[in-house]
Symmetry: C2
Subunit: 403 residues, 2 copies
Amino acid sequence: MKYERNFYQIKKNDEIFNLLIKEKSSVGYYKLPFQDISKIKEYSKTIKQKNIYVIGIGGSSLGSKAIYTFLNSTNAFTKKLLFLDTIDPLKINQLLSLSNEKNAHYVVISKSGNTIEPLSILQYLSSFRVVNESNCTIVTGKNTRLFDYARNKKINTFIIDDDIGGRFSVFSPAGLIPLSIIGVNIDSLLDGCIEVHNSFFNKEYYYDHIINKARFLVENKSRFSNNIIFSYSSVFQDFNKWYVQIWAESLGKKNTNGTRQGLTPIALLGPDDQHSFLQLIVDGVRDKTVTFFKIKNLKDSSFIPKNSEFKFFEPDFLQGKNFNELINLQADATYESIMQEKDIPCDIITISSVDEKCIGMLMYRFQLLVSCVGAFLQINTYDQPGVELGKKLLKAKLGKIND
Amino acid sequence: MKYERNFYQIKKNDEIFNLLIKEKSSVGYYKLPFQDISKIKEYSKTIKQKNIYVIGIGGSSLGSKAIYTFLNSTNAFTKKLLFLDTIDPLKINQLLSLSNEKNAHYVVISKSGNTIEPLSILQYLSSFRVVNESNCTIVTGKNTRLFDYARNKKINTFIIDDDIGGRFSVFSPAGLIPLSIIGVNIDSLLDGCIEVHNSFFNKEYYYDHIINKARFLVENKSRFSNNIIFSYSSVFQDFNKWYVQIWAESLGKKNTNGTRQGLTPIALLGPDDQHSFLQLIVDGVRDKTVTFFKIKNLKDSSFIPKNSEFKFFEPDFLQGKNFNELINLQADATYESIMQEKDIPCDIITISSVDEKCIGMLMYRFQLLVSCVGAFLQINTYDQPGVELGKKLLKAKLGKIND
């Protein structure tokens, strides 16, 4: 008896787990926590300028920006990262005005070595500032045009391996070079990754969390097509953007059967977005999952003292508290109010402290989650074929104008 | 013969139009373009401080912030707006450090007069800075606790009328007071509103645009449940956030039949989000509409000159252009690449220049669009019942802690 079929089923957890183990030989990000970073650390120490401009867009800047914003408020870095991550002329000129030439160092990042935005900024910059081996570092793929440019100008260059996609490159030199230059402890960062990596691949704590969540999201993808993260602290502001990219660009794909897949990422900040998006979560169509983030211990000396002037306000119970208490109570209250709705899937991740290890753990955890969801969806998580047409059309337009 | 029914149909355009005309007697925002603003302008001139802190959250700050960010890059305002629009301790302290006491003026905005975030900031602030009639203005509803506080301290107060909801209050004193203080031409702002208002209610140009778009969105709400705006210029950065609020909080409701409604707003910035979200639009599930925004004439002196160092790069055709040309070409290329997909509904709005009248027109147009969509959905566009439980839980928690 012959049995044939043309449909695909959601695979078993163990099949996905084995798929990820297989991916390790072709997908580079898995191995990044174990790389040798001695050269990066050594080189970073030689950079003397205080204002480090990161010239890169998308995967070349979102990761390091997420980590920088997370750490910057509570760590006294002696250097600053400034992100030239757009070609908006208003922003570029505003950012460049923040440092004189002497104190500026430029880290140009483009894996393809041909990304239109950072290259146009580099050309613009070169028209009125000196850019050479004394104030520039280049991070790119092997043998790209940017690599040739760097060699030609004797600018120090670090390589992003071929098997590492832009949005999975935060723990490659693309993220580590700028972070290490300003004094981020990149050993601790990778320690955090290793802890999650080993726990997952040894089928310990993180295995269950990650694979079961991925399975739930895929089994319910038609019902809950929007995945919200609701972050209660401004330290998560750029982590939110990193999440949107890795989620949207990795999971928005056609699968092996040619069927369109894609879970839509939405990133909110609390308490601000309680006054904006929350109403839609509670009373709108039930097509959303929500993941809350909060920080357990955030340094906060902003005490609200007792003051009789305010005794007639209803929230006089604010007095004697600090803002961090208040923000965490708001996170809990919103979480509980959503829990009471019963059919809004939600979970809450509490970060124990604002340091390198914790953000390393969090981001590696999300990278593994994306890999698992992609494997369950039976898509290629690591390419981005959908953006090519726009690039082609742009080049045609640029060519035309030059005629 | 008796005919009864228990289903609701999408109404005719004229029914919706008549509904909006009826709303004019109970919904305050419609009349705001025609208000007398002489007192606001007169008062604004008396404020001498240079750094104007807006203490408000959600609808009390998103509107003025959208307009300020839109205008600020190309207008030489002599004063600055600083938004204390969160209770994040890190942000609050960072923002307060930007001005000394002498140059700071505080505009406290809360329609209910009892919003926990601005009131906790006001209390915190009062513990180490003088806040009185010489450096504070209050904008609130009639006879609120904040109104009493202001009267008690003889602080100048402006009233938000009862029939104006927070997210529709940008053209009330909530938005006009801070904007007028820093020198925004609020006459032109309201002129823009009037132009759109009259065109719509006289069934001219904007009537067709707005009502047909609203009808399309509602007729296809199940298929296209996500409504993206894709803004090509950082001047739209905070307009994006204003849009998310007015869309999510107005339209995420149960309708007259108790059925959950809600279109999900997603706000993107180009070209940045070409490297993030675009892949999901193109290859993911076709559940999204896209509206592009671009600026026709943006002052831009950031010319990319010819430079032989870069001749071996593929995008050497960048040379001889400026960034504004490039950003608009990117908008066009992305728009066209999405148009080629055929089943992604999209449109493009080109703003002729970065001034008060244009942003007034744009925001009033979106308010009318929200009103139309809400009317088609047969919901109450102007309340927000879904956020009350969270507030109640928070107050309970605050009470508990005090025990």
